[in-house]
């Protein structure tokens, strides 16, 4: 057992970003930079990895997952405080610091609460059991006679209790996380299930929140990366004299990696613009216009049958009039409002990286590898960035900062410019789907076949390859990372004959990464649009058509509740004109949330503009730890995905991305914002499923179905730009 040590003093000395829930504002503790920190237990199998009690009765929660503006910063403390039996004001939370928190996996896939939070809840339950044993012993009564409430263990019968701090002091629990430690009965919840306020909100509204962009450390230089004018261009020469007039500006060149540093940030920006460099251009890309054809052409990694039920090919072949349709989702950017930023201090055989990464633990090994340092010499400290919705440029910016810091021997802060983010963040990959379906004599779907053309994620690739190290010639594992993009490609209804086939592509047109609800948005766009096409063919109301083939009561409930929100009237589509309505449903990943979206939209036949009037969403994610947090995520999923569906496509030529700003890559603006009607289903006795992604999945399909209902035109290519709508209207009845 380690010698006892004071965690409080330790935290003060380490420079961790600590969010104290009791304090109005969180600030940066200044830098210490020690990489390997003695005393912290990081083994995810141990209780001490997740929480520490202090003599004053306060508790520190160490969370490997991070709050990306998503509300984890309140939800996790709610779960921990509830299970321990202590007030929320006693909890402090530390997120994503590789030297302080256990590796709970990256903050992705809507796993913050269902995996991260649930793990911490179990650690807290284990700790509570231990505290109750200690308390019972001290009180001289049996374990069954005590309870843990309000930060103390006390006799159930009443009478004085003993505070947690007194029971454990500053000692560690030295206990394995017990997966069987009993959890509190949800009927007795005091904190979980309440829409409690996020602690970071006031500082965000007063302009004092400590973003990574605001972090300054002693001796720090400002860096800017000078990215090549063409993807994979080779750096031939650099004219350092071209920035000689800018005070303190220096070039950092490592093979094809090019950057500048300066004492002043604006000088670094000026230098990056003034720097003359000669690049050997490459025309290595296919260009956005050719993506769709290139996906059909390959080259392919493999074909894979993801689902086979009954005999879809035979039934389809025998069907008199089967339907076929093709759907396309383009390359999109994460589109963070703030360009990626990081600060790195790489000196004396160790590295400290302050980063807004969603995956500090995972990237720690990548940084150690390309910096040539042992893992334990590298520490990544999470600091809030702008929302990222998947892996944007944060990790690349951090790698840029690390390379430059190592080169100049001082801490370097790198902030990307807008064009860096739009051009070089790893992109959401394109998806092409071809669907076939046929109705049976009963008017229900008799057979269904989905074929998908999608880039194949490289097996056991540790992380998305980083741009800086690649340019600098550092070895790193190469390959594609996409997230789980093949899920939800089959109809979520009772269909006897279903086949789902993936044509896995060897490559992607631009470096891919996970983008919110990876793949599921496009897949449900196709599946639920096509379900509507079959309903139209059956001359059936699209809600009734779905309900007739749906058995899961939780699915039925969200569909009925979403439809009720817009007073759905049963009739076949298209409607009489004017305002159209459409709906779509997902059982997320076929195993998680149940979400239905019903939407009203109208189409201006002259301009091709789609106006979304109302969006209704019924959402069931099991236990909601914080219903207002869930609501915020649902709202964000809806509006962000409306934006992606209506407006967004990354344009690129043979050399690189050409839509490098908000004018050439427009997103949703306030005048486009519809009325939102949200109905959240609370299920206290079900596991919590998270809310960061699922509600985005049905948005595009519900919109396409509403557009079809409004004007009889079927849109199958995203984005639904006015030109595309006008073209579809001109060819009335054909696809857009």
């Amino acid at each position: 057992m380690n010698a006892p040590f004071s965690r409080r003093a330790f935290l003060k000395s380490t420079g961790a970003l600590v969010v104290a829930l009791g304090a109005p504002e969180a600030g940066f503790a200044q830098v210490a930079g020690a990489a390997g920190l003695a005393g912290r237990v990081l083994d995810p199998a141990l209780v001490d990895a997740y929480l520490a009690l202090h003599p004053d009765g306060s508790v520190t929660i160490y969370c490997g997952k991070v709050d990306l503006g998503t509300g984890l910063r309140i939800a996790i403390p709610q779960m921990a405080a509830e299970e321990l039996g202590i007030g929320l004001e006693k909890i402090r939370l530390i997120e994503g610091d590789t030297a302080l928190t256990p590796d709970q996996g990256s903050t992705a896939g809507s796993t913050g609460v269902p995996r991260g939070g649930v793990q911490i809840r179990q650690a807290a339950a284990t700790a509570r059991e231990a505290l109750m044993r200690l308390g019972a012993e001290r009180l001289g009564i049996s374990l069954g006679e005590v309870e843990a409430k309000q930060g103390e263990v006390r006799p159930k019968q009443g009478g004085a209790g003993i505070g947690f701090g007194d029971l454990i002091g500053d000692r560690q629990f030295a206990l394995k996380l017990d997966p069987k430690a009993p959890l509190r009965n949800p009927d007795d919840y005091i904190l979980v299930g309440k829409p409690l306020r996020r602690p970071d909100l006031p500082a965000k509204v007063f302009g004092t929140h400590p973003y990574i962009h605001n972090l300054r450390v002693d001796g720090m230089l400002h860096g800017r990366t000078v990215r090549p004018p063409a993807v994979e261009a080779r750096l031939v020469s650099v004219d350092e004299s071209s920035i000689a007039h800018i005070p303190g500006a220096k070039v950092v060149r490592i093979e094809n990696f090019l950057g500048v540093v300066a004492d002043d940030e604006w000088d670094a920006v000026r230098a990056s613009r003034a720097l003359k460099a000669d690049w050997e251009m490459r025309d290595s890309l296919v260009g956005n216009e050719a993506v769709r054809q290139s996906m059909r052409a390959g080259p392919f990694e493999s074909d894979e049958t993801l689902m086979k039920k009954g005999d879809a090919p035979s039934v389809l072949a025998a069907a008199g009039d089967r339907l076929r349709a093709e759907f396309y989702w383009p390359v999109q950017t994460h589109g963070s409002m703030g360009p990626s930023c990081a600060v790195a201090d790489v000196r004396d055989g160790k590295a400290t990286i302050w980063t807004a990464s969603q995956a500090t633990h995972r990237f720690r090994f990548a940084f150690a590898h390309f910096l040539g340092l042992p893992d334990e010499a590298v520490r990544l400290i999470y600091v809030d960035g702008a929302g990222c919705y998947g892996m944007n440029g944060h990790d690349d910016a951090a790698a840029d900062a690390a390379l430059m810091s190592r080169a100049v021997g001082r801490p370097v802060r790198v902030q990307w410019m807008r064009e860096d983010e739009h051009r070089f963040d790893p992109k959401g990959p394109p998806q092409l789907l071809a669907l076939e379906g046929a109705l049976g004599d009963d008017g229900k779907i008799a057979a269904w076949r989905t074929q998908m053309w999608i880039p194949k994620a490289t097996a056991s690739l540790p992380n998305v390859p980083l741009l800086g190290p690649q340019a600098a010639g550092a070895k790193q594992p190469l390959g594609l990372s996409t997230g789980l993009i093949s899920q939800n490609a089959s109809p979520p209804y009772a269909v006897q004959n279903v086949e789902v086939l993936a044509h896995w592509l060897k490559d992607a047109p631009l470096r891919p990464s996970n983008i919110r609800a990876p793949g599921k948005i496009a897949n449900i766009f196709a599946v639920e649009s096509f379900t509507d096409e079959l309903a139209v063919k059956a001359r059936e109301d699209s809600l009734a058509f779905r309900l007739a083939s749906l058995q899961d009561p939780r699915g039925i409930e969200v569909l009925e509740r979403a439809a009720a929100l817009i007073a759905w009237q049963p009739r076949p589509s298209p409607g009489p004109g004017g305002i159209g309505r459409g709906l779509a449903y997902v059982h997320y990943k076929d195993s998680e949330n149940y979400v239905a979206i019903a939407m009203e939209a109208e189409v201006d036949r002259e301009t091709g503009v789609i106006r979304v009037r109302r969006v209704a969403c019924a959402h069931d994610c099991g236990l909601m730890v914080n219903p207002d947090g869930v609501k915020a995520q649902v709202e964000g999923n809806i509006l962000q995905t409306l934006s992606r569906s209506l407006f967004e496509e990354i344009k690129f030529d043979r050399r690189g991305v050409t839509s490098a700003d908000w004018a050439s890559y427009p997103i949703l603006t306030f005048p486009d914002v519809p009325e939102l009607l949200i109905d959240l289903v609370q299920r206290p006795h079900e596991p919590p499923l998270g809310a960061g992604e699922a509600a985005s999945a049905p948005v595009a399909a519900a919109l396409a179905n509403a557009v079809h209902d409004a004007c009889g035109v079927r849109l199958r290519t995203v984005p639904f730009t006015r030109d595309r709508v006008r073209a579809a209207l001109a060819g009335e009845g054909k696809s857009g």
Partner: protein, 155 residues
């Protein structure tokens, strides 16, 4: 060169080697007002918004040499936890931020709007905020917050 400008009610002198240095960099680095954010540097997103002589402006587009005589208010000068501006109080009440990176611009543009138009309609608010981008999708809450700050209500 040295420049004198009034920020949050106080006259400040700053040095800049470049007359074209945008006000945003001066505010964030020389003066330590990190409330305004760098979002695009192109005047397209609104994250850098400050109020200059009563009007919301993009501080990423205003050269330091053009700020002479201007009275600039940043979000730090708008209100504090102890004395919040009504818009800030309403943003907190409506929990109208996720990542919060765009929030500076939302708050400042809304504050400038209601200084001019104390009872804006929902459409007027949408128009006033049309140049402020948000990626998290907090728009509905922002609209509710501005209506709350003006005593209106979103149905």
């Amino acid at each position: 060169m040295s420049y004198t400008l009034t920020v949050n009610g106080r006259e400040r002198r700053v040095e800049s080697g470049d007359p074209d240095q945008p006000l945003l960099y001066v505010l964030r680095n020389a003066l330590g007002f990190t409330g305004p954010k760098f979002g695009c540097g192109l005047g397209q997103c609104g994250a850098c918004t400050v109020i200059a002589d009563g009007a919301p402006i993009r501080s990423c587009q205003l050269p330091i040499s053009a700020t002479k005589g201007m009275k600039i208010t940043t979000i730090e000068g708008l209100g504090t936890a102890e004395k919040p501006h009504p818009v800030q109080a309403a943003f907190i009440a409506e929990a109208a931020a996720q990542c919060g990176y765009c929030t500076n611009g939302m708050v400042m543009t809304s504050a400038a709007l209601i200084a001019q138009n104390p009872k804006p309609s929902l459409d007027e608010i949408k128009q006033a905020l049309a140049g402020n981008l948000c990626r998290c999708g907090t728009h509905d809450r922002v609209l509710r917050a501005v209506l709350r700050a003006t005593g209106g209500q979103k149905k």
